[in-house]
Symmetry: C2
Subunit: 435 residues, 2 copies
Amino acid sequence: MSLDGKQSDRPRVVIVGAGFGGLEAAKRLAGTPVDVTLIDRRNYHLFQPLLYQVAAAGLSPADIAQPIRGILGRKKNITVLMSRVLGVDAARREVRMEGRRVPYDYLILATGARHAYFGHDAWEHRAPGLKKIDDATEIRRRILTAFEMAEMESDPAEHQRLMTFVVVGGGPTGVEMAGAIAELAKRALARDFRTIDPRQARILLVEAGPRLLSSFPEKLSDFARKALERLGVEVRLNQALTACDAQGVTLSAPEGHEEEADGARIFTRTIIWAAGVQASAAARWIGAKPDRAGRIAVSPDLSVPGHESIFAIGDTALALGPDGKPLPGIAPVAKQQGAYCARLIRDRVAGRATAPFRYRNFGTMATIGRKAAVADFGWLRIKGTLAWLLWGTVHVGFLLGFRNRLSVLLSWIWAYITFQSGARLITGATSGSDG
Amino acid sequence: MSLDGKQSDRPRVVIVGAGFGGLEAAKRLAGTPVDVTLIDRRNYHLFQPLLYQVAAAGLSPADIAQPIRGILGRKKNITVLMSRVLGVDAARREVRMEGRRVPYDYLILATGARHAYFGHDAWEHRAPGLKKIDDATEIRRRILTAFEMAEMESDPAEHQRLMTFVVVGGGPTGVEMAGAIAELAKRALARDFRTIDPRQARILLVEAGPRLLSSFPEKLSDFARKALERLGVEVRLNQALTACDAQGVTLSAPEGHEEEADGARIFTRTIIWAAGVQASAAARWIGAKPDRAGRIAVSPDLSVPGHESIFAIGDTALALGPDGKPLPGIAPVAKQQGAYCARLIRDRVAGRATAPFRYRNFGTMATIGRKAAVADFGWLRIKGTLAWLLWGTVHVGFLLGFRNRLSVLLSWIWAYITFQSGARLITGATSGSDG
């Protein structure tokens, strides 16, 4: 029975998660002879690559989020539900939600990832990650509040803690976040205060490995590091977090690098976590054995072994690339996998065969700041202003919704001209409270 | 001593509150021979007249809020502090904050108003008001979540509760909120759902008095009521709330109108309070005896009787107009009072006399919805499309910041053309939780 009680003979596809993977699958199944139910615990699709700009007070949440119903609500064969999923009954082929079960013929799990703290879950409160809008506005609140409190702080030790910011994790998210905080402190806020000089803020980017952007070629990692250092960011390589509390963090060199600065204690009030992700709980729902990061290992056609009608895509899945290595948890992978699942389902319904999934790598990019970005297309690597313009163009282009594209573009042009940040609001908690 | 420890011989002006009144006073004292400290518990100035559009998912918070430091941070004689004020030591002439005291020669209290529940403070959780950004995003969350849950709700009684919205209070805020929810339900969301028809949502506006917009002429009140009814809003006059709980509200006719529908029980999950305000706690700080609404009665020069260097302006003050009636708690009054205080302080410093404050009434406006607004200029009254265009022009014009003006204008143009709402995000709590 479909949601409105009518019996339907069409195959029923249930998609859990309206991120890049789930949304692409739903869009490609619109208007095809199946009934789709798309379930997400939120009412919007989030363009995660720009989330760090909300955290750095540059963009508003509505600039990078699109209501799912606005995208799909009018497609006749798609039903959108806002709900948490509690589990999957694979034997009865039903998805369990609160007070409701939704039957499926095909199930696509696209539930994404959340942060991992390497066994130190207690760190999460002190060091929030950046996966959701509420994460971003909370980080924004902490960063801006730190400067406001430093303005009034007479105790030099506390003053130093408030003016120190630590970003943990040297992948694209960490690099982008560190660069954005540096630009916020050294440009947008620079002349706004009387007692403090925000340009004196200390911003550290801590990476456990030997270089930033480890998935990029070495030359681009090097460029990123230098660009960050030019912005005034202190880059600490080969250092992992060993402690994280209300007074700051403790860094240690990982095994084999003991000659590096060991046990360095950094006093800070603001820590941002960009160092590890783990998959959603979807593996538990279907009783699949996840890998160390919680991902569901999938077959070449993205189905779950033993469940030929259940597919897992995006960050929650472990799919292998042509070189036998796991595909990275990035948006283009999820989108292509979503499109593939839609095609495979259409093929199955029509009785056709489908080739295995093959990821087409159109390149990856990361930005550091104004006129400094890196782009890796394999045969071609670009850095600097050209990469930055390309990064901007691609991200605006992939944003959903004309209104959001225009809004983000205008925000960027205005920020470029004025050096200001357009969303410097502290919302969500009243002044003086921390965390 | 000023904040940075330097002795200063200039008079020190402390302004508490960066709303319309406090901000205007600060702006007019910029560059004059005084030292100004502006204290607010938030880091932004909020354009309250458009807050209802954030609550109705039309605008984003950043569209109507401007960081105070962005407005004033670079004025050399103005220090901005983000902090709560705990009290005022009138004998020592100091403002008490957490861990700090700020001395003053002149003090302007511009701390505004908050909601009043007529002795039923327990209603606040069920029926949030609309004074702060977090109020607006919470109301937005409740409205949008109600539709999402109704889409999945099989119990008819609960379904009806979810699809019913009650706005309490027939002043401009209540009228604007009811109109905006009606437009959201009947246009923006109309085709987004499968099971429910948002156009069937029931929206009630409850007013204890005999007409809406009681501060406007009767003909304009009448126009507003008809315009709301055309939008599908049920207007209930001469009915006050007697109960408010998780299942809904109970209405009673006030004394003298017992022949009206009595004890009407309306089942609803979403109640918005726009029915009463009370002044901030500023009266308590200085030991002044407040009126019934908590306001500080002020002399014709806006100073507090017995404290010739303490001034109270805006919603927290009770100032009488030329007709002997209290001036209304609206933005133009606060702005003019702020400007007056600045002028008076400059006069005092220069040894000049100042005439008493005289409010110049340039008119008031309220909007109902698309092409329906009312404007009262005393000698001239306008209603309909012309009033609506005027309302829009004035509000965009008075918004602070070119960026915000452009953003709001584009949002309005887009919404006018597409009938969509641009900020339909549910943020702040995960799906399924209420309140």
